[in-house]
Symmetry: C2
Subunit: 237 residues, 2 copies
């Protein structure tokens, strides 16, 4: 049976939400049927967006250290419930040789599966995810176009909502900002919006009335359940 | 800074709830201010109640192994979001030398703090917690009396509700069973009921209209935050 390693803490609430989604979405009837998981959740990993903007230290050394700790515990498959950290995935794979479930590819695959008519994908993510062009790359591989928020919306709505969720306060205000950003993406031609930062699903609110929202945390959980299925006694949905 | 080790998986949803409560109740304003945590969540630990009833293998060897894994990761303080597993706490402390936050004592202490007039504590827990007299021992230390459900209620209401929560289905039915068990405890003279199994808080429903309910998962989270405060940069509530 596989042991899933979760490199968490980016942020801690996103890790908690991911683990809850993983448990909730696993078709188990007893404790013993759930996927064995080890979670390394250290919020002290340097800010991923700051690093990608060239304003702070790289988180890569601490990410590598976290994965090595998980490998030492016996984890043979890794998940990182942080979209932005996936900018460092190539380096992380090279340094550790670990097998990862990729949250960005899992989210794009689920978008196509759930909304096959999609042409334009709106992205509600961090500035780091945007600079690293994570969704642009994954979407172009499957023929989808990406619509990013305007510079104003990114800064005043999306970045601010993420900051509020991480700060643990004013979720109601964060929710209004995400709703507003989603309306702008719809006006710009998006058919679907992806909650492309693991903090965004905590502030979706009524944005789902504006556009279908694909939640990257849920998509990562589903992809992990599927990836563990052949190795586990658990069957997938 | 302290690294909190969580021996989880008993059950997985209780572990997810505990971690969410820990994050939500920590007064942090950024990822970096949260308590660093490593969670070992393996649902394959043998059933604690079955072992205490003499019907199954002891979970102690796997619990010891889990704690040793957490110690190897650098965890210097342990939490187990499973009341019943605390029957094995003396053996676990002896085998590992680890420092634990005790969920039973944390819950009894919070009961007194929040409801100082309490004399009789109703216990909604597993059969294993009951046989091991975990709440009887902790309550007698502080002069409180325990009221357990009748044999019928334990089996038909409490055990069944826990089984339904662990199975991930029919939470609405589990909630009705917990409400009914709480009404019986109130009729038997309980001033307060403790949700003394980490699955019970997931099925509380309107039981709080019958008696004040003290949630052992929240109490464990608060005690961990308090225990980590002097070691962490985080300040407690």
């Amino acid at each position: 049976m596989s042991l899933l390693g979760v490199l968490g803490g980016m942020g801690p609430m996103a890790t908690a939400t991911f683990y809850r989604d993983l448990v909730r979405r696993t078709p188990a009837r007893s404790d013993q049927e759930h996927i064995p998981v080890v979670i390394w959740s250290d919020g002290r990993v340097p800010d991923r967006s700051e690093a990608l903007l060239g304003h702070g230290p790289s988180p890569l050394p601490q990410l590598v250290e976290g994965v090595k700790q998980l490998q030492a515990m016996g984890a043979d498959l890794m998940a990182m419930p942080c979209n932005t950290a996936h900018a460092f995935l190539p380096g992380l794979r090279r340094a550790t040789g670990a097998d990862f479930v990729d949250i960005v590819r899992a989210t794009v695959a689920a978008t196509i599966e759930r909304h096959p008519e999609t042409r334009h994908v709106g992205v509600l993510g961090t500035r780091g995810t945007r600079i690293a062009r994570l969704y642009e790359t994954a979407c172009s591989e499957v023929g989808l176009a990406v619509i990013q928020p305007t510079e104003h919306d990114q800064s005043a709505l999306v970045d601010e909502a993420i900051r509020l969720v991480k700060g643990g306060g004013r979720l109601d205000h964060a929710t209004r900002l995400v709703e507003q950003a989603t309306r702008s993406l719809a006006a710009a031609g998006a058919d679907v919006a992806v909650a492309a930062c693991t903090e965004i699903p905590l502030a979706i609110g009524r944005a789902t009335e504006v556009l279908p929202i694909v939640d990257s945390v849920e998509c990562l959980a589903d992809a992990c359940i599927e990836a563990c299925a052949p190795r586990c006694s658990t069957t997938t949905r």
